[in-house]
Amino acid sequence: MIEQLPAIQLLLTLLAAPICSMLRNGDHAWRLATAATWLSTVVAIMLLIQVWDGGVISYQMGGWPPPWGIEVRIDELNALVLLLVTLFGSLVITALRESLRGVMRHQRQSLYYTTFLLCFAALIGITITADAFNVFVFLEVSSLSTYALIARGRDRRALTASFRYLIMGTIGATFILIAIGFLYMVTGTLNMQDLSERLPAHWDNRVIQASLAFFTVGIALKVAVFPLHYWLPNAYTYAPKATTAFLAATATKVSLYVMIRFLFDVYGIEFAFEKMQLSTILVPLSIAGILIASLVAIFQNDAKRLLAWSSVAQLSYMVLGLALLNASGITAAISHMFNHAMMKAGLFLALAAMIYRVNSSKLHDLAGIGRTMPLTTGAFAVMGVGLIGVPMTAGFVSKWYLISGTLDKGWLPLAALLIVSSLMAVVYIGKIIDVAYFKPAPPQHADVREAPLSMLIPCWIFALLTIYFGLDTRITAGLAGRVAQSYLGVS
């Protein structure tokens, strides 16, 4: 049983999806989906425990040894990503029922849960696989389900956002396919481990260099690295309310994981960063991303769009951390991946609960909501403070490592810029909190009540986790630090 866990991890949700699609009753579908995702979370925790001390689980799909068959490989890094996807995904799906109620007919609801489960399963698939082409396949499953989820938004602009994402996402995926093709052309293998062993002999081969370029552009589209973030703000803004929470928590984070896996493991640090000097592109881009996206966020008057732009900035933090290429930077990137997923999912979820009651995410409609929905707004405030990076919250830990990383490099002005960007975060989060607490509620929202418990409890779990991971960082920064050490120690 224990040795079958990697397959079970994927199968729980993958099998639940078709069954879910056949259920006519949306409530049954929800029960199935939550059961599958929470079981999946348990499996993820068991896997994390297994690899905790640097162990690696290898599982051969179909019983064929790599590189002939497809291997599933779980180490500390992707065990953490698994935990991220399953735990936060499950929390959001649990809260989903209430937010769909009244919006969608029962059978549509089961289809909606099916799409969620497919996305969930595909993200797990991407995370655990050790085969380059398999990444592409599951990336497409997750992307297609994401497009469908976004397109279900109530505003018609959801359709345009989804279409735009579909075009850009497909170009990105095809670029990744080209990159994988080039890798195969030169090495004859698709297994990541095998690739990383065979690639050093071909560093001077232009095909491999082009492969790196195509991969970087392709995955940057998926991660929404500035300036390829074009699709993200609208997609997040117009996607259905709780869906945004799910996407913000998982989809871009898993893409970022793929980026780390390929750049650091497959291509290798020496090739990607020392020979090809990827940092010289990524560092300026991510700095521009951080500053511009934060600035844009400040001027939004729609809370959802504001948080979406903040996501662009925060993703740039992670890319910057990677590109710093020192222990603190990589630790920051990986732990921020986890922390940001948690906080942003919680923020979007709390916002979803507010939208559920006031039917708008415009700032002027959220006025006074701190009094009408004190608990939801309280959770929002806690996570907002976390996003800013205030000490004792999770956001602080990763930002601390990031700034330490820049200081280790001796880049004082960059550290100062990061502080400036934190100040910008204070402004844009402060904008929402100010409206929520210090402005009177408009008369038409006088009878707004607190969100239902099924949404409130997940929100507060996110909020409490934000504080917990600000105090106990063994799972986040501790593990990320070990991963960073292992990457830097080898080179």
């Binding site: 200081l407 502080i419 100040l423």
Partner: protein, 492 residues
């Protein structure tokens, strides 16, 4: 009960009191009882830490260690204990006064008011007992946020504008400079723990030290160094008990306390003395203390005048710290205590005048002395203490500061201190003098009868005025406590 638990309790008691306040139904009496009991309890807790600290121990407790080498920890050392004593002691009086003031003025949202007050005190305790710079920073920010609703308490456009300036400046300086300097320090020294003799000594050259110290000083916006002093006058829109909290009990004291802590335990006075790292800060502070006094002269609004007076008085502390010798540190530390006692008296008086007569402008206060003799007598005593005349507490602080600057052979500072004292006389004495020696505006009102503010307002201000006198006679024991502050690393 161990001393470490006491430390934790010092944080939790006000928090718990605040929570209790929000839970109780809207009965003013229960609320006030809870506030008073909490305040007294806290004061007792702080006092019970004295035996250990006087015997040379430093009780400490680590709450969490999220990043290796960086923990959230509490620790009681003499300087912090002194600050905690001032804050918790004055909290009792402020609570008493607040009850009178809030009831006398029929203010709204009183529960929220006392709740935020309790949180602020908890944050002040956190600052006082912070075991490292990061913990201090957390509570520093917490104090800023908890006082924001207090500053905007009135909720009108004026209050909101003042609140925005208040929050804006304090947030901007603390995140932009203080946090940055903190991170930089951690990167250089690998730790942020407060250690006798400082942690930076082996890690910085003179240039870096000067930049860092300057960042720290400007980053501590609560210390109101020019040009980041604007928030203090802006926050004058708040009710008077809040002003007392800002000026005497917690906020500005937290600011200068932070600078003292950083000077002594992060840099170490030897490092500052040897490298001259404090030069920029020292001159800015000197400039501030003279200019603020001049500005105070021009203000007719009593609270605005007191606010600028505070800006000036705070710079005394900073100058004392930057002198980087024993006398300077003693003077600076005493100045925290003496100014707290003096300034809270003045603000209590200002508030009492407002409650009784609704007057805010000094020019309107002619002849009020006979209507409110206790208030104005207390105001006079407080003024003398701020100016630094014996037999009042303030004189000790000024004396030590003067000694310190002579020892450091900074003659310009000696001159500045003297000039500033003269200016203090010029802007404080006329207030009491007008009240007692000038005829009221409308003498036809008939014979003046004594019409003081409510008793709950007058009693606290008499107590603090008496405190200012008493401090003069207990200056020596205060000196003993201060001399326990370890200025240098102990030789093994």
């Amino acid at each position: 009960m161990t001393d470490s638990t006491l430390l934790l309790l010092a944080l939790l008691v006000p928090l718990a009191g605040g929570l209790l306040l929000t839970l109780q139904s809207n009965s003013p009496n229960t609320r006030d009882v809870i506030s008073l009991v909490t305040a007294t309890l806290l004061f007792l807790i702080v006092l019970s830490l004295y035996p250990a600290v006087l015997s040379g121990d430093t009780p400490s407790i680590v709450l969490a260690e999220p990043i290796k080498g960086l923990s959230f920890s509490l620790e009681a050392e003499p300087l912090g204990l002194l600050f905690a004593t001032i804050a918790s002691g004055l909290w009792i009086l402020t609570t008493l006064y607040g009850m009178g003031y809030m009831r006398g003025n029929n203010e709204t949202n009183q529960t929220r008011f006392f709740f935020c007050f309790a949180i602020s005190i908890s944050a002040a305790m956190g600052i006082a007992f912070a075991g490292n710079l990061m913990t201090l920073f957390v509570f520093y920010e917490m104090l800023t946020l908890a006082t924001y609703p207090l500053v905007t308490h009135k909720g009108n456009e004026d209050a909101r504008r003042g609140g925005r300036i208040y929050l804006g400046i304090l947030m901007f300086t603390s995140i932009g400079f203080l946090l940055f300097a903190t991170l930089w320090t951690f990167n250089l020294a690998g730790t942020l723990d407060f250690q006798p003799g400082g942690i930076l000594r082996e890690h910085v050259g003179p240039g870096t030290a000067m930049i860092l110290l300057t960042l720290f000083a400007f980053g501590t916006g609560k210390a109101a160094l020019m040009p980041f002093h604007r928030w203090l006058p802006a926050a004058m829109v708040a009710p008077t008990p809040v002003s007392a909290l800002l000026h005497a009990v917690a906020v500005v004291k937290a600011g200068v306390f932070t600078i003292l802590k950083i000077t002594i335990y992060i840099f170490g006075i030897d490092l500052i003395a040897d490298t001259g790292a404090g030069t920029i800060v020292m001159w800015v502070a000197t400039f501030t203390l003279v200019v603020a006094s001049i500005v105070a002269l021009t203000k007719d609004n009593l609270k605005a005048r007191l606010a600028y007076s505070t800006v000036g008085q705070l710079s005394y502390v900073i100058v004392g710290a930057m002198l980087a010798n024993a006398a300077g540190i003693i003077g600076a530390t005493m100045q925290i205590a003496m100014h707290a006692m003096g300034k809270i008296t003045l603000f209590f008086c200002a508030g009492a005048i407002y409650v009784a007569t609704h007057k805010t402008e000094i020019s309107d206060m002619r002849g009020l002395g006979y209507r409110m003799p206790f208030t104005f007598a207390a105001f006079f005593i407080g003024s003398l203490s701020i100016i630094g005349l014996p037999p009042l507490g303030g004189s000790w602080a000024k004396w030590h500061l003067l000694m310190g600057s002579i020892e450091a052979t900074q003659w310009i500072i000696v001159a500045a201190l003297l000039v500033s004292s003269l200016l203090n006389i010029a802007y404080l004495i006329p207030v009491a003098a007008r009240a007692f020696y000038m005829a009221p505006d409308s003498p036809d009102k008939g014979p003046t009868t004594i019409a003081e503010a409510p008793l709950l307002c007058v009693v606290p201000l008499c107590i603090t005025a008496a405190g200012s006198v008493l401090l003069f006679f207990f200056g020596d024991s205060l000196n003993q406590l201060i001399s326990l502050i370890p200025l240098r690393a102990t030789q093994p």
